[in-house]
Symmetry: D2
Subunit: 447 residues, 4 copies
């Protein structure tokens, strides 16, 4: 898709062909369920199976029939039955007892599963790369910035550990959602009445069998108008988008040449401009951000649809889910792939990170200095001078002079130079960043 940069990385996860295939997969599986229940024999299964390949159908023609029934199941069924013409028993078995929503909801869950598999692979790759960054750079000094301003020293490893923990959490949630993607099987109005007549006393078993056949979870009840599975899916994808977007935003920012701490991996021809040859735009991160900006709105559309799921099948709310869900299923995997690639090849400019720490100067240690100096002999009297120096952006040299001039150099309470140097050393004020890196890596190792 020209307006979805990077979508060519993969077969489109929710295009017409994928949708049709998923619909056919559900119908074919339902015939197999009927065989398990002894309602049709394996020949019927085979006959239907032979016509369950989306490639055998004319998408454009099917498309013309979608509006009349307000969903794609009806023309798909007509085409499938037409393909089975002459094979009355097979044509009759197809879709028997189901309703359009059973087939479309289940098909969307199949598409979701595939999308989540792809997202998972890519989040795993992203997390692996991030874990390497966290480990490699556990001691690489970096300016921690809050409200956009330098605040304290940290390490790039600690920052990466924060990314890693968020990526692993997003992945865990998506795996949970994937494992619970439910089959839909309720018949025309959620009572399984027709299925119950086909297989008396075994209707709910039939629903479970369909879940089995499709590799979906069995929710034990229809969810025609309880759209929790859809919003769970959308929310988890949006949350993955949030995490990807946060990391990408940090990378874009740190790739600004004035900061210069990171660069996206170089690739011939990537990040170029249509007119400026020198440009090396962090395009993948930028695209990831754009997906993250869009995703919350798509997830919100799913919630609105869910809140409007009236009656036993919604009068608009159901239909409103399809495009936002398809958009999320298509965009998050691409964003995950893009960020995984960025993270795998991320160029980390330690020197710039250090330079920025040095430029920020002792102000970066203000919290420490203002707490520690007053506790030193003679230090209490220095507080105002020190505070003033820090406020006005004094250099390390200047602060050192202030301290050295005010703290005793000899006598029983002398403060040695090493104490002052330690106080002015950003690497000596890193709190528990090492532990945070270890925790993130340990937790990641268990995922």
């Amino acid at each position: 898709m020209l307006l979805h940069p990077g979508s060519s990385r993969q077969p489109h996860l929710a295009d017409d062909s994928a949708v049709l295939q998923a619909l056919l997969d559900v119908e074919a599986a339902w015939v197999r369920v009927q065989a398990r229940l002894g309602l049709v024999d394996e020949q019927i299964v085979a006959m239907v199976g032979r016509h369950a390949d989306a490639a055998g159908y004319d998408l454009a023609e099917l498309d013309l029939g979608v509006e009349a029934g307000a969903n794609p199941v009806i023309p798909m069924l007509a085409a499938l039955r037409s393909a089975l013409s002459g094979q009355t028993q097979a044509a009759g078995a197809v879709h028997r007892g189901l309703t359009s929503q059973d087939v479309l909801d289940s098909a969307l869950m199949l598409l979701a599963r595939r999308s989540l598999e792809v997202v998972d692979d890519r989040l795993e790759a992203a997390a692996e790369a991030t874990a390497r960054l966290a480990d490699t750079h556990r001691a690489t000094l970096l300016t921690a910035r809050t409200l956009s301003q330098p605040a304290l020293p940290t390490t790039f490893g600690a920052k990466a550990a924060g990314w890693l923990a968020a990526l692993d959490e997003a992945r865990a949630e998506l795996l949970g959602v994937a494992a619970r993607l439910p089959v839909q099987c309720g018949g025309a109005a959620g009572t399984l009445a027709a299925i119950d007549e086909l297989a008396p006393g075994r209707a709910l078993e039939a629903a479970d069998l369909l879940a089995d056949q499709l590799g979906l979870a069995s929710p034990g009840r229809p969810w025609h108008t309880d759209r929790t599975p859809v919003t769970h899916l959308g929310d988890a994808l949006a949350r993955a988008g949030d995490v990807l977007g946060k990391i990408a935003g940090d990378i874009v920012l740190m790739s600004r040449p004035e900061i210069g701490e990171l660069s996206e991996p170089a690739l011939e021809g990537r990040g170029g401009s249509s007119t400026l040859p020198q440009k090396r735009n962090p395009v993948l991160s930028i695209l990831v951000r754009s997906a993250a900006i869009e995703a919350p709105h798509l997830a919100a559309a799913l919630h609105c649809a869910a809140a409007l799921a009236s009656d036993e099948r919604p009068d608009g709310g159901w239909h409103a889910e399809w495009r936002p869900l398809a958009a999320l299923l298509a965009s998050v995997p691409v964003a995950a792939a893009q960020l995984a690639e960025v993270l795998a090849g991320l160029e980390v400019h330690r020197d710039s990170m250090l330079r920025n720490v040095e430029t920020a100067g002792p102000a970066l240690l203000a919290e420490r200095l203002l707490r520690a100096v007053p506790t030193l002999p003679g230090g209490a009297d220095l507080t105002e001078k020190l505070r003033s120096a820090l406020r006005t952006g004094a250099t390390g040299e200047e602060v050192r002079s202030v301290l050295r001039a005010g703290l005793p150099t000899d006598g029983p309470h002398s403060v040695p130079d090493t104490t002052i140097e330690d106080l002015l050393n950003p690497a000596a004020y890193l709190g528990v960043v090492g532990d945070l890196v270890d925790r993130a890596l340990e937790h990641h190792a268990t995922t």
Copy 2:
């Protein structure tokens, strides 16, 4: 699109082919601008023009190149220049002085114009049909419902007049937006520097000429990071969606058989169920509702993107606009077409409307009765009895008895039966519905 029922009604307004064509249209127009400025001759214009047909390009191949530059202009340009290989001057003239965003923003405005034209045609048809309904049914009694409950009598004509006024207002806004869709022409960073070197002193004129060539408005400045035109467009489309959705919601509701006041036009095969032959679902209205539920979220994504339009070209905010905008450009025209068809063939069941008014009974006239009766001779003493009767759902006959029993039948202050009948006649308590219908029709006639 299988998940967009009705999208086959028209050429897709924002698919890859349409996007590519619009991009080529902008590039070709820019070469024509250069000819107007005397920078190239007409031969160059013709050469470029011969390669400005999207059909001549391989979309799938172009698609592969979109990610590297984070937009489709770069691969489009490469392909166009490759098609012009050997024609150095023409290849050199193409895109000269522009930037990707100039081309893509302008192209999206071209797509928007086409989409708005279609929406306008269909809203006009919808409004025409609604005007006929308002006129025809100006006296057709209908229950006015507030907070879901019968409240007062009104007429279906008055209801349709309300729809009409909203449709006409939405249409007027969209026409305004369409007339202001701006060309984008700012060069690499919004300074028109390269254009100014090409045509010294004429850069802003060149931008105006490009607007002329494309039939877009000339904003007189670049809007690379002032995304007001995009949010105006999105908001107006969402507002059209709101109006369509409100009307469709009313129709779905009034088509419920328990209410039975309206039916969507019948069409063989439409509104059918995959399993229930008797079903005649108001599918078009339902689809319109679904578009209306989705649209606000897409428009909100455009606002978020606008709020994040950093620097001289946004680092993600710009890219986040494309898919939501394309989705709106595709969905609102379809919804407008669907509702226009519904309105044009809407079946109005006067008898059911009347039956519902009668069933609602004198409670529908409570406001009037409780105001008027106490002003009649002897009426003040009836208030409590009357209020109690109305609260408990008394029939017209019962209320008539209460009134007749309590109001004098003879003497100087007698209250004639005709007064009582008038008070109990819903058609006599319609306020200014006639004026409202006239106003809506008159205003519509001027559109």
Copy 3:
């Protein structure tokens, strides 16, 4: 709040007073943590505790100080320290090592916990009431409606069972979220550097102790810029809103007098109109719907904020969370209370339900008739006649005649009247509704 009907049901869960109290609770708890770590003695704890009551502060004055630091912690701290003036050690211990975000994030989690407790109580009440409805009405015939049109028979018990399952699932999710609401404790830039100096080697333990003191979960790391806990909370509240909204929407619809199947519980003065005495509007359900329409947007704002959580503390994204989160924390509990009240007193009009089933007629059994009749002796020849009768809304009597006329009454293949009566009996085509009710009740019993 005048624009939040029903908010007077409870102390406001996120008003200024509640926010201030939560902030003070966090500061006081942090001093207790310091006592556990041996850094201060219990006297200090007591001193701070004496000033940890929001009632002791002037909210309006505090409010004036919020903007300068862009959050309420800074003026709260100033006021608290001022209250502790003269008690240097206590004033010094307050907030020591923390950052504003630690305090505000933790405080919001405290408010969330309180809100979730209230929501849980009310969802439990709603679920209890719904379970009673499901049980009582397991056999109460009801029209199942799909795409707004009558489709099949079901029971009101089955419908209530669907509501119940969704309520129980929403409740379970919220309980999970409540149990994981995390303390925030990272110090000025998420490294716990100052805390590590206060209590060397025990900084992460200190964070865990703070969680303990506040009854929050201990995430083992700061989440200043990983806003997953906030979006999880928002999503779960929005999902609860979806479920409440779906049920409320069904109730509003079924309370329309033309349908007349349900009424909100009557309460003197409730549901009245400012002008129409007879009105009994389903106001509580309407208010619940309005909360459900609003909630997805608030949750989406939280996702957008999360995606923009830059650096080590976001430059706007964090601040953008507060009002949407407070709005959700205030509105969902009210909606839950309103729906719980509706469900507890819901008037179920069995007679209307049955009347509507009867009015829908044999069309409600079309799925069954068209499957079963052709399998009867002589039935195949009746299919077209039957289909036509159903399509045109034939009554039961008419369909009975068609069947009786076409099916043999004697001979070896005679079809007895009882078979025909069974086919025309909606109560005989209810599928597994009994099982669905049982499953929902059983699952509910375990919650």
Copy 4:
């Protein structure tokens, strides 16, 4: 409000007291309308007027009555009538012929008008300050950044001119919306039936008179279920938020010390941290960004509500508007005030701007160099060398050497040093920034 930093700048525009006052204003105005129509005398007007001050009512008590009627009009009316007890004629005149929605919708439009006035004042101040910046800095060199990377030279004046144009456009739109804020006057079901009985033939005139009295526009029809005025208002406020957010985002970015081009105006105590004395956070800009992130979601909620405006008064959609609208009415004025203050005192660091231009080096002129050099004598042969130098970040000195070594210094085709210096001078490649500044200032002068 503690969670709305800066809200103490002004009387809260949509708090309970403001809402109540607006409701009373509408009721009082309606009595004046009745006097104009000759239905009551001036004494009645005066009596009602004496009780039309919100300060005379107990908000907490009123609040308890809001839920029963699902809106605040009903308890407000009860309180007003109670205040008028004994004055039967006055009590009877109050609200006569109106419905709750008439009063609340009109009241919200009054609140909107006040909010828009405040926004307008502040946007005007913001625009004035920005105009000064544009004028003062029309020649102040600045790095234009696209996709986060330095692209071309521009001036800070040109950037400010872009901000100015957007501010002026937002202001113009808001003024337009303010001028069209409509009165609501339709009676119980939009037919003006009761008003028509009160003043036969003059009902629509009465509506116009009410508009007059309140200083609102007269739409000529009720808009109970055509919520276009509300979404227009919300969209315009969100758009103002977008513009404010874009500018604030630029300021936050340019205030990062690594870029160091701007600072928020200093104010003792502002921008401080709870722990870091040296911090000078751009807090106002950050708060503006947070409002901009939130606003689109609130506006979207209004669209969703509009799309669900069913029947003659919506069954939830109406009620869903109140809180999002109130939130927008409260937050945008504060954000506008904050940004106006920032812009009025913005510190512009010309030296840093220049330093960044110089650091970016000749790459900033790549577009020009690569176009111009090949047209110089001997230049064509330099293209590859030049491109390579630019790609690898060559300094001005290095590029100068490349050019000087490759271009003839004597002979008929000699290229003088001045030509080379001009090519390397960022101030000589500014396109039409001067014109853009002039245009923005001229347009601003007309607003």
